[in-house]
Symmetry: C2
Subunit: 793 residues, 2 copies
């Protein structure tokens, strides 16, 4: 692997770098262990030690080392640099560094830059009422928790897109590097436009061990590792050793080399010749492979067993310091090995030379405004959704592809906000009928282009890569640094990022409690290839459970929308693109479906989130049955059922309720969008059967509504894991959510229909049977099903 | 990239190979388009065409090509070979090939090897009542659906482990290759023991395009691709072209080369010198990079637009064949270009030379017994769990780490079944207290070992890699080929494989309907680092929602167990390791917890799945309140609450119900383990408050029980997304599931306690407040909490 021979640090700078690193390491160890006596002004006693020792030492000295050296780089070159920490367990490092540079105290003025502040800094770490052990939202300068591993690089790329002057230094742990999300995210460099995007500078930190095992990348032959990274499009520089002076020099030289190379790549791309011979996707971007011991500078051995440079250094190397005098003496020696008396003054503040090592103001990585994205966020300039409305001559009179008008709307959003929004998707933007966006922009592509290619462009705003992890990570990084975006995907396969969604929702929940974190744009999903229209792909593509997963997270950060038609979707999208600090999930089909509401009605309906559809009801304020629906396909089946009931049982008083905003179904005590009991009862009644056709798994509706009075009258139809490659209508039949079965459900539940009901019930069964027979013979739905429209008044 | 110069096919073999490939391609196109006239005995008319054209042509000719060439290889060398198809959308290819070789007709005798059978084969494809469009469980020879992309290689490795004679040829799509799961699964070769495992032979198929975009790996410079694969530990051979004769020769030569190289690696490892100089993990295994046009041999252009070798060939290249005469003529010409009259005889059967191309019997890839794992599966020889029991002097009298005895049990399971079980985990086997297994085996490690390493071994049965995707994929492949396994992980991060679980559960559901698929061992999860004991890691590690996710799948394939103590866990594990065709989720903590039941009681309790704990109840058959609990921490808090109630309100009749098998809570109509209404009422009563302390999100209990009579009396406590780095007891306090709050819940709900209740209520609140204050000062729980034991009678 390539090395850099330069040894750029003067003797003074070398000493200063080392002092700064020692200071940060001292502060990190102090956080893990000390409740008091932060400057070791007294001999270390049991009562100075925390009762529970929590934290991860192993990765910490490496994180500190890179931070310290980035400080020099930023200072000398006035760089705009962020720091993304893959091994997010190393919280003590970043807390230490941001305190040293003053960012911590700027954010939390109570934790002053003196002995009192240091004591507080130490105590609060991993302490009830304090801060978590990982790089959590509480840490200034971070956009990445790293509790769950694998997302550092995709977050970093998301931050770098459209920030041409930004360099995102990203430490990738060698444990993290084994995850799928990380393994595929290396190829993010193939999607960076050196002319208009910033750069990601990965530092693959080979400290050799996970919790209890060696790591794969640290043990494969170094030539293999070199080829692996080169193959991904990188040009790695090796920095390796366990002698601090030597490693300081190597790392300083490597960083100089990398930044020079980044500038060279960017300058070439920015100084004209945009169509140069080598596509930018073939450029090999610089990166660093840092091979240093796990738990470096910590105890070499504990109780006769090697610790430094083994997996035993992962968490707390000395585990019983409060009880065991020998351990406590060893801890004291360890702390004193950093020579704190040289690093902190009488008051406990870092000495001037240590303080001066860090850059100042917004150049400090703990104060970089991009890492508090709300500071730099600009709202979108949004067109009027009315301009994209589908004309509706009457409810349900015409069929329209639900997502296509939203495609046109998004096209103009992109035109009006060229560097402030991107669309992300695993190769589905066109198949989801958002192709109009490609009139305004291209799909980002930096590799070679062929004559037969279409819509590829180096400055494309549509990012397509067949990795949901990468799409999600890029979008998270993009929104956390203040920009806007939309992730469009298959409903079933969005489960691939269940866990990433969890982490992001948890991040948002926490940031809402931190005043200094300014609100960032919401993370928006459009799930358009949904469960009911995966009839062509079959069972493996049929799963509406992402909604259930999302609803488990804190009510204040999640929203789920099921617009029933194209116009309602337009309003919903407009609303989501204006929102902040939320995760919005929109599920809306792309296939031709009846359009129910004109644009004004749709606007009102979307704002209300749910409502009685008077034009479809004949209940005169006193329904015998409520037909509720949420989702485009359930809405169509419900209205088709209602039209049968209106014809067959014209005296039956039916009320139709449509739900767009699923959270409206919860009690107001549970969700900010919830209805209060009076409102809920006014809409759903208190004593009549409610037949609810729902897009997803039926039990979710029970879960949301079980506290409501009328819950005992609720009967829900939805997807119950029945499906295969078949026709669209056969899908609803297999799951008993078809119009005929909904009619049967009404007949079974409304009292007093006995005589008429028996005949109609049989006819409905016969129609189901007849349809099944037709489908099995012809492989297609009956035209009377596919061409059905709501009967005009 | 390396190429092989050999051109091993004689002129005859070349012609035969091409004929076989043409036959398979013809049958694939026929499946996509034809309802009738399968042999084109008449001119193609509209009525011969399916009304809905579904299927994926683009990947199909490549899948057929590799299959055809594997046939020669198997025949000439009598190989034991399976075929795993990453681009699982290419169902028509494998259906065609298995029909040609006779496996399809052996499996489905109605689909004969003649014209009638061919018509049926064509019609059934992607047709209601027929078979799905992808490589679904219905396809003989497959263990991998590939609807959701990314798992082909990890499935292949799982199949190859402990099958020393097996070669698993695995086509990896270049779209699939962009996913995270696939990207990290390349390093599976670092975990293959050439002495005792079989081989995986990947064929990376660069057909260049996804649905609407080029693929990354097909467009990066070929040198980069070569380095990338070499870096992962492979030795790729390039096969590229669009001239069939040339590609046949190249591919035949490359496959000969790869198999020879595999045998060379294996022979070296198997012929002694096991401690040779080069660790087996440094071996570069052979693989093939196959660069052929997408939709090769299909229409070059349609309506003047290029199709072959572009993304437009992805699905159905000619879309309106029924309506458009020109398209229909083009389809006919396309079908006739394969010269079916040379390939099929008068009766429609493949001609003798085409039939003879394939191997016979169990050597046919569609009939390989490993791919119908139940055929080769052997039950585990299990020790008596009683031998590992924790002694229980009295309920709750002592604390034990819940998982440690199960570690000893698993150690002896491994000893008794050395090649029939493996444990999988992302570096957590020891931290989950299953370290006893390492007395019987090592952790599989083929790379270099250092002196400081522990428990690494080339023949280790414990597989640890920091990728939940890889662990899950390996285990799926291992169980689908008939072997046994357990995946142990953090509860929160098992969400990483939500989507893989979905696919596996769907696979199992479908296989249960296919008599010819023999039952395979269940897929078992042990989630031991669970939500309540992630207090040290904090909020990012706290998520019990995997259970919710699992419960959405078909009741007949899923089970969830929450054993309350070490002995019940032993019985539960014993039960799960004997089960078949299920996904078993066991959640059990590893921290010291009270042990409630002696081994016989625990056995009875585990078999019943739930029950009244008489020793903890004083209800005399007529409770005033039911205290229910599921999960180890909720059980402890419930019994602590009961002990307070017994002391403070000795006359209050309390019944304690503990739930191990969560599915027992559903009605019997919903789940095979469900209680009928009479049983449920007998246990939970019909008119008294039920205070239910549950391990996960509380609403799941409502969802499972809402149909039961007593649901209106149910009040559930559980995790409600409140947490941080804090103490264990503070976690339950933050979520209102602590003993004091459970007492308050009782006081608030049992009628007639008013006077006593007010005083006790206040005392409970005071204890909560006092505890919070203690924790915030000391950073640890009060000893009276951590040392609490159930009062002995």
């Amino acid at each position: 692997m390539r090395t850099v021979d330069a040894r750029p640090l003067s003797a003074d700078d070398l000493a200063l770098a080392d002092a700064h690193w020692r200071a940060a390491n001292y502060l990190a160890v102090g956080q893990i262990y000390l409740l008091d006596n932060p400057l070791l002004r007294q001999p270390l006693a049991a009562e100075h030690i925390k009762p529970r020792l929590l934290g991860h030492w192993g990765t910490t000295p490496g994180l500190n080392l890179v931070y310290t050296h980035c400080d020099r780089l930023i200072r000398e070159r006035d760089l705009d640099m962020m720091y993304v920490i893959g091994p997010g367990h190393g919280g003590p490092a970043i807390v230490a560094q941001t305190w040293l540079e003053g960012s911590w105290t700027d954010t939390y003025p109570g934790t002053t830059l003196d002995e009192r502040g240091m004591r507080r800094l130490f105590k609060q770490f991993s302490f009830p009422g304090g801060i978590p052990s990982h790089v959590a939202p509480e840490v200034p300068g971070s956009i990445h928790e790293g509790g769950e591993l694998g997302y550092s690089l995709s977050h970093a790329f998301g931050a770098a897109f459209d920030n041409p002057d930004l360099i995102v230094t990203t430490v990738v742990g060698d444990g993290e590097a084994e995850t799928g999300a990380l393994a595929t995210s290396w190829s993010g460099c193939r999607f960076v436009n050196p002319a208009t995007d910033g750069a990601v500078l990965p530092v693959l930190h080979l400290n050799g061990y996970k919790i209890a095992n060696p790591t794969v990348l640290a043990r494969i032959p170094e030539d293999d590792l070199d080829m692996l990274l080169r193959g991904h499009g990188w040009d790695p520089v090796l920095v390796a050793g366990d002698d601090p002076e030597e490693v300081h020099q190597q790392l300083a030289g490597a960083l100089d080399d990398c930044v020079a190379r980044i500038r060279q790549i960017q300058d070439a791309a920015r100084s004209g010749s945009p169509g140069g011979a080598t596509p930018p996707g073939e450029v090999h971007w610089p990166m660093i492979v840092l091979r240093t011991p796990k738990g470096w500078t910590g105890p070499e051995e504990v109780d006769g067993v090697p610790v430094e440079d083994t997996w035993r250094a992962h968490q707390v190397p000395l585990a019983t310091v409060r009880e065991n005098d020998a351990h406590r003496r060893q801890l004291e020696a360890w702390l004193r090995s950093y020579r704190p008396e040289e690093l902190f003054d009488e008051d406990g503040a870092p000495v001037a030379s240590v303080r001066a090592w860090a850059p100042t103001g917004a150049r400090r990585m703990g104060s970089n405004p991009h890492a508090n994205g709300g500071l730099v966020s600009r709202p979108l300039d949004l067109p009027d959704p009315r301009d994209y409305a589908v004309k509706v001559p009457g409810p349900g009179a015409e069929l329209h592809e639900g997502t296509r008008p939203t495609g046109a709307y998004l096209r103009d959003v992109i035109r009006a906000n060229p560097h402030n929004i991107r669309l992300f998707g695993p190769d589905e933007v066109e198949s989801n009928r958002l192709g109009a966006t490609l009139e305004a922009t291209g799909k980002a592509w930096m590799l070679e282009q062929y004559d037969t290619d279409q819509h590829l462009a180096r400055d494309g705003r549509v990012m397509e890569v067949l990795s949901e992890h990468t799409c999600q990570g890029w979008l998270e990084g993009y929104t956390l640094t203040g920009r806007h975006g939309l992730f469009t995907s298959y409903e079933a396969f969005i489960h691939i990022v269940d866990s990433m969604f969890n982490q992001h929702a948890k991040w948002l929940k926490t940031t809402r409690q931190l005043d200094w974190r300014r609100p960032v744009p919401s993370l928006n999903y459009l799930l358009s290839s949904h469960v009911w229209r995966q009839d062509h792909n079959g069972f493996s593509h049929q799963d509406p459970g992402f909604i259930d997963h999302v609803v488990n997270k804190k009510a204040e950060v999640i929203r789920v929308y099921l617009p029933p038609d194209a116009n309602t979707l337009l309003w919903t999208m407009d609303h989501c693109l204006q929102s902040q600090n939320l995760v919005n999930v929109i599920v809306a089909g792309k296939q031709p479906q009846p359009t129910w509401l004109d644009m004004e009605q749709a606007g009102l309906h979307a704002r209300r989130g749910l409502g009685i559809w008077d034009w479809a009801s004949n209940d005169a304020g006193d329904p015998q049955v409520v037909m509720a629906c949420a989702g485009d396909v359930p809405t169509m089946e419900t209205l088709a059922a209602v039209s049968i009931l209106r014809e067959e049982l014209p005296d039956l008083r039916v009320r139709v309720v449509n739900v767009v905003d699923l959270m409206r179904l919860q009690p107001s005590s549970e969700h900010p969008h919830g209805l209060d009991e009076r409102e809920f009862d006014a809409i759903f009644g208190t004593d009549v059967p409610i037949i609810f056709a729902y897009h997803g798994y039926p039990w979710l509706i029970h879960r949301l509504t079980y506290r409501h009075t009328s819950h005992e009258h609720l009967h829900v139809r939805g997807y119950k894991e029945e499906g295969t490659t078949t026709t669209p209508f056969d899908m609803v039949v297999r799951n008993d959510m078809d119009r005929f079965h909904l009619v049967i459900d009404v007949l079974d539940r409304v009292p007093g229909l006995a005589r008429k009901a028996a005949v109609l019930r049989q006819r409905m069964q016969d129609r189901r049977t007849a349809h099944r027979a037709y489908v099995n013979e012809h492989g297609a739905d009956l035209p009377e099903i596919t061409e059905w429209t709501w009967p005009q008044a």
